[in-house]
Symmetry: C2
Subunit: 304 residues, 2 copies
């Protein structure tokens, strides 16, 4: 199985306590696609402006990402400018220029319509539904969202929830969506809206996966230096879904492993600005990190 | 092995979004001793005033806690009044009355001096050293502290670090102590000060155990209703040290299991005000919770 990813491709300007970059490659679909590309074929759906640097498109192609769905429209590429403090836990948005994203109405290339795993990254829930209607028989549909849509397009978002299998959002978003402070109760409320699974991303604290009867909790990889958290959540989602697509299996055991592979991908993403670290992950580095996750969390509850 | 615990015995007044209690049994040594008492003999060292209700002392005795070291001094018992918001993650202290705690200079009963596991709960580091000098040959000494001592008695605290095996503090305290935002680097700095092990408590996010070459990360038990977080950290420490004492083994495997038993004890402590839930934990409830921790965290990194 391959993965279809729809979301944003952006030019990001980011300042952290450790440095600053201007107009580097970013966007939810970018991080998601690169992370997924380590595991499976990726069909990317996004829009850029005429100013989008050709080397970026070339780079995505070299990572075996199908960019037939990356359309160029008249105007400027979506731009985001943000800043992080020393805690690195929350971005302060300094400027958002939607540009070509404002009128984005994706039409899937014919070859994308048989996609079996679909990731609706953080875009307008109306667009998420619009994309979903063009996919024929997906086996797994996952989505992300943000407070902007939770507050502003709640009805459309609730319709999205009815049609997806897996929602991946952060803890603040889960609380806002369910209007409930307690995460366990918030998760139950969200599962009641439709999705069979819910993954709550908690940044440096890792992720929780809920389904009707089970919870799986994974830590974040403890890094000595987190350089730039931008794209961590999308890299997590891309790695997770890429691993699932490659495995061709949706059992609980495989889902758990997928959460770990996603967490590993997120840990690489935050080690450098933009996709500078994420773009060159060796199979050995990935497997080492996954083994470390096991070593960091394993215990025997009974004396052997 | 038994556990010697020195710390505070208090009368707490607590307000949470779910209710309010006045002058109920609390204090670091209280929570720690009760949690430890499920696993091993406990020698309690603390001070109370003449107003300390006799039923509380009786209750501790019934839990097989040795209260020979719980001295009564003229004056009033230590009182703490605090409040939690809906997030339940941080107490706002409304009032602290040290009372008899202000001049506390514990002298250990002779029978306590052979203690093999010692927990110096959160008190003045000078007092922690004073207690430690009275213990003859402990196999494991653990300590807690707080920002008040990190800021106000740094030199004494650094002397404590040289003499203990295990420090258990929360993430904010670890960052303050090491003057370093990154937790991995903060942990390395703290281990450089003396202790062989460091446990960083992260409230609803669980705990991380660091030693020279290893990290173990455990989640907190995801509860549907957290009623009152007071005493969670002390219950964690008491459960952990009680389990270690009972096991008579300090291997990494046993330490990991001890973190899980401590986490289970903390999860019971927060389910009700004061020690109302912690005081009646059945063996079955405890074992069920430990098995759930395993089920929530286990994954196989390799396809079987």
């Amino acid at each position: 199985m391959g993965v279809l990813i729809v979301g944003s491709v952006a030019l990001d300007s980011v300042r952290t306590p450790f440095g600053e970059v201007e107009e580097v490659l970013g966007g939810s679909a970018t991080y998601g696609s690169i992370a997924a590309s380590y595991f499976t074929d990726v069909d990317l759906v996004a829009v850029v402006g005429e100013d989008f640097p050709e080397p970026h498109r070339e780079f995505l192609r070299r990572r075996n990402i199908n960019v037939d769905g990356l359309v160029t429209k008249p105007g400027r590429t979506f731009r985001w400018k943000g800043e992080y403090g020393f805690q690195l836990n929350e971005a302060k948005t300094l400027r958002t220029e939607l540009n070509v994203l404002e009128t984005f109405q994706p039409t899937l290339p014919a070859s994308y319509r048989q996609a079996e795993v679909v990731f609706l990254a953080n875009i307008d829930p109306e667009l998420q539904l619009h994309v979903l209607r063009q996919v024929e028989r997906p086996r797994l549909v996952a989505a992300d969202t943000m407070n902007f849509w939770i507050d502003g397009k709640r009805e459309a978002l609730l319709r999205v929830l009815k049609e997806i299998d897996l929602l991946m959002i952060n803890d603040g978003e889960a609380r806002s969506l369910a209007k409930e402070v307690n995460l366990v109760k918030a998760a139950q409320w969200i599962l009641g809206c439709g999705p069979k699974g819910l993954i709550i991303k908690r940044g440096e604290y890792g992720a929780m996966m809920f389904n009707a009867h089970r919870v799986f909790i994974a830590p974040a990889y403890p890094l000595e230096s987190v350089f730039d958290p931008t794209g961590a959540g999308d890299s997590f989602a891309g790695g997770l879904l890429g691993y699932l697509a490659q495995s061709d299996d949706l059992s609980d055991a495989t889902l758990r492993r997928a959460v770990i592979y996603g967490s590993a991908m997120a840990s690489f993403a935050v080690e450098a600005f933009s996709v500078d670290r994420l773009k060159d992950v060796t199979e050995e580095a990935l497997q080492t990190r996954v083994r470390e996750f096991k070593a960091m969390t394993a215990f025997e509850e009974i004396v052997p």
